[in-house]
């Protein structure tokens, strides 16, 4: 009984093994088929010839060149030999200048004659050509013979006379070249240098942008921080509603400030005044509104006054920001003209000012959105604490229904815009209805005052988005940005920046998840709020790995930025691709060399820095 089962299993095993081998065989056979593995191609003489050519070119990067002196001698020759056989021997008038001697002195087409040269540059190389026609100055030359002189400037060579006949004298031209002076950079080398600098700075900007935005994201994407974030439904709904309200309101307010600030933008002295006074005023107002310490809970009028003061501080702050931006633009333009080759500094100021001006409304509305949302959320929290259970239930029902409707309606608008459905009945009303129903159900089926794990929900959504975006290659993102902002390094910065944000946010958040929980617990126990806990217990623990990952990412970005030019994203890749397409392999070689040097240097720097700081 037992033996039969063993037999069966062993039979079954070998069948399975056979099937597996067969399957593997088929898979690889198919793989060869579709990847067109074919060594014949490699063996064909044509391929090998070009391989040799390319390989040689790659080992001779087009980097240095010399200025060259040329010595050209045209000596007449008769082809065919004139009737009667008398050859006018070409006798040079000056025996100290370069000259050529043929033997025999004339030739029939197809003959090979010996050419001897005297008094050329010593140890030089050059070309020996037949010049058809009767004009020694013509550019047209036949043949591809090369000659080299000895130390006395003498050479002996043979020349096959082509089938060009003329009763008058034709010519043989010897052109010898010699390098003079020091080696100089070629144009290719200059272009390569320029582009490699662009590449490094592209990577630097992308890394900076990515790091700045990835840090806050990494906290939201860390499970250990988000797990304990819980909030009652009313508070969650209100904070969701707070975002659109705040963003729209914030945009409106910042826009007004911008309009107010615009007339003052032209005058550089007003800019200076505004840019200096506004931050001070904002700071003072904020200090009054946020006393360093408070032992008693303040009364309602004081709190309203403080809120108003904070609002005012924000207004003045935005005004100051606009003035600083104008100041940078004006000042940059002013000094840029006078700086000569340091004009880029002025240009940098102008561009930075412009960037501040452009992103202030975005940052402003987002900040106001966040502030309104957190204020609303506190209101919800208060309401939940103060009201009775059934009142809270009612409040939750109303708020969750509204919040659900608003969120899905916004989502619907995005879908409408993306797919151009032109179906507002579905994308607006249908979606809102679904959202409202979902909100209402949530409100009905949860206990009125319990706190829901909103932190985990936010964490999950963030992680999902990060993982999805991360799986899109930076090169693909670059294509999208090339379409959006045009060919050039800016598209590359945007693409690499976005990719950096998502991948760093993931790496960072894993670091946050692996910090020691003890200090976190201790800081929390002192009565610190969440933000304080992050600043005092989390950030000190994550600084070393953050530095290390940022360096690592810069390293990757330098590598990426060398090829992002292939799709038009700026940097050296564009040049490289162009030269490869033009079969200009010596130039391509120069660019590859530059990439190799930069990548190796970056590698070295980043590993050294990482060792030092971690």
């Amino acid at each position: 009984m037992k033996s039969t089962t063993t037999k069966n299993t062993s039979l079954w095993k070998s069948v399975r093994l056979g099937a597996t081998i067969l399957l593997v065989f088929v898979v690889y056979a198919y793989g060869f088929e579709i990847t067109q593995v074919n060594l014949d191609e490699l063996r064909s003489p044509q391929r090998q010839e070009s391989l040799v050519r390319v390989t040689r070119a790659l080992f001779q990067p087009d980097l240095f060149t010399y200025k060259q002196d040329e010595s050209v001698v045209n000596t007449p020759i008769y082809v065919p030999c004139p009737e009667g056989g008398s050859v006018p021997a070409p006798t040079p008038e000056d025996r100290s200048a370069p000259y050529l001697v043929f033997s025999p002195g004339c030739a029939n087409p197809g003959d090979t004659i010996q050419v001897e040269g005297f008094n050329f540059y010593p140890n030089a190389e050059g070309a020996l050509r037949f010049i058809p026609g009767n004009d020694p100055t013509t550019k047209l030359a036949l043949g591809s013979d090369t000659v080299a002189t000895d130390a006395e400037g003498h050479f002996v060579a043979t020349l096959k006379i082509p089938d060009r006949q003329s009763p008058q004298a034709q010519y043989v031209r010897a052109t010898l070249r010699r390098n003079t002076g020091l080696p100089q950079l070629t144009d290719t080398a200059r272009d390569t240098w320029e582009k490699i600098v662009e590449t490094v700075f592209l990577a630097l900007l992308a890394t900076t942008l990515g790091t700045i935005l990835a840090i806050p994201l990494s906290f939201i994407a860390a499970r250990n921080l988000m797990k304990s974030v819980k909030s009652p439904l009313g508070s969650i709904s209100l904070s969701i509603l707070g975002w659109p309200v705040g963003i729209v309101g914030g945009y409106f307010v910042v826009d007004q400030v911008s309009a107010f600030s615009a007339p003052l933008a032209e005058n550089i002295y007003l800019n200076l005044l505004g840019g200096a006074l506004a931050p001070v005023a904002a700071m003072l107002a904020a200090r009054w509104a946020l006393p360093e310490m408070e032992t008693q809970t303040p009364g309602v009028p004081l709190r309203i006054a403080r809120l108003a003061s904070l609002f005012l501080a924000a207004l003045v702050g935005f005004f100051g920001l606009y003035q600083v931006a104008s100041l940078m633009v004006n000042l940059g333009a002013l000094i840029g003209d006078r700086l000569g080759s340091f004009e880029f500094l002025g240009n940098f100021m102008v561009q930075s000012g412009d960037i501040i001006r452009t992103i202030t409304p975005v940052v402003g509305s987002l900040a106001v959105g966040g502030a309104v949302s957190s204020f609303f959320s506190r209101l919800g929290q208060r309401g939940t604490e103060k009201l009775t259970k059934s009142q809270v239930k009612l409040m939750n029902l109303v708020l969750a229904t509204t919040a659900g409707a608003v969120v899905l309606a916004l989502l619907g608008q995005a879908i409408e815009w993306l797919y151009e459905l032109n179906r507002p009945d579905i994308t607006r009303w249908g979606m809102s209805l679904v959202g409202a129903a979902a909100g209402a159900l949530l409100a009905l089926f949860t206990e009125a005052k319990t706190s829901l794990p909103i932190g985990l929900a936010v964490y999950t959504v963030t992680r999902t988005i990060l993982n999805t975006l991360r799986s899109i290659e930076a090169l693909v993102m670059a294509i999208v940005f090339v379409i959006a902002v045009g060919i050039g390094p800016f598209a590359g910065v945007m693409a690499l920046g976005l990719h950096t944000i998502v991948s760093l946010a993931k790496l960072y958040s894993e670091q946050v998840e692996s910090i020691l929980p003890g200090p976190l617990e201790a800081i929390e126990a002192t009565g610190a709020n969440r933000l304080q806990t992050i600043v005092y217990a989390v950030i000190p623990q994550i600084i070393p790995p953050y530095i290390s990952y940022t360096m690592y990412r810069w390293d990757i970005n330098v590598r990426m930025s060398t090829i992002i030019g292939f799709v038009g994203g700026g940097g050296i890749g564009f040049l490289l691709q162009q030269n490869i397409n033009l079969l200009n392999y010596r130039a391509a070689s120069a660019q590859m060399l530059a990439i190799a040097i930069v990548v190796a240097t970056m590698d070295y720097i980043s590993s050294t820095l990482r060792e030092r700081y971690v």
Binding site: E385, G527, Y536
Partner: protein, 250 residues
């Protein structure tokens, strides 16, 4: 006065860490919490300042129901309850003075503390507390450059910064040698006797309990099995607390 009423904690995994615990601690008392490893001492102490959310029961402190407090109220309650940990729980890469100042986080305005700004009086006070535990000269060193005993002093200074009415100490001397253990316990005793701060301290060694505690409660598998004076722990009670096979040492 701290009243713990019918406190129960069931962890997410289903572990019943505390079962129906009730006891009262008058203000100014030094209460020792003893019990075997895993009996629920840490859970009990963390339930009191709600680092761990109790499953059922009430904790009432000076008439305020801690278990029902809102997040804002919790912040105000926590800042009057100092906590000292077995593994010190300092932020290693921060300076000693920063670790001590962290004790003020519950008081100062979050907006400014995010910029690492503390009022001058707090900085002075921090130096005073460091001097009180005898390590004023270490203020500007990194916390992880200190020895274990010094780190625990920093932990105590941090708790003192909170101007606490109560200190929860979770095995504060379990990772220290006996000499250091006494010096740390003396600090706690002084804070208790001089400043009138209530101390709840979990301990493993009965000699420390006899030497420092006014009163003892004992846990066994999450249940309260003894409540009384240290001197009342006789051999019979000892076996109730630590199990039949336990041998009394020291």
């Amino acid at each position: 006065m701290l009243e713990v009423k019918n406190l129960t904690k069931v962890y997410d995994g289903g572990v019943q860490a505390l079962t129906d615990i009730s006891f009262t601690v008058p203000s100014g008392q030094f209460l020792a919490v003893i019990g075997l490893s895993g009996s629920g001492k840490s859970t009990l102490l963390r339930c009191i300042n709600r680092l761990i959310e109790p499953t059922a029961g009430q904790i009432i402190w000076n008439g305020v129901d801690i278990t029902a407090a809102s997040p804002d109220e919790m912040r105000r309650i926590r800042r009057r309850i100092g906590m000292v940990f077995q593994h010190f729980n300092l932020v290693h890469r921060s300076k000693v003075i920063t670790n001590v100042l962290a004790g003020r986080l519950g008081y100062i305005n979050p907006a400014w503390s995010l910029l690492n700004r503390f009022p001058d009086q707090d900085v002075k006070n921090a130096m005073r507390q460091l001097a009180r535990v005898g390590i004023a000269d270490k203020a500007n060193m990194r916390a992880d450059e200190l020895s274990g005993g010094q780190q625990q002093r920093v932990g105590i200074a941090r708790a003192l910064m909170q101007d606490p009415e109560m200190i929860l100490a979770d095995e504060p001397v379990a990772s220290l040698d006996p000499v250091l253990a006494h010096s740390i316990m003396k600090h706690l005793e002084e804070i208790n006797k001089k400043d009138g701060v209530t101390v709840l301290c979990s301990l493993h060694f009965l000699d420390l309990v006899h030497r420092y505690a006014d009163r003892v409660i004992a846990l066994n598998e999450g249940r309260l099995v003894f409540e009384g004076l240290p001197s009342e722990i006789d051999d019979e009670k000892f076996k109730d607390i630590y199990g039949r096979e336990a041998e009394r040492v020291g």
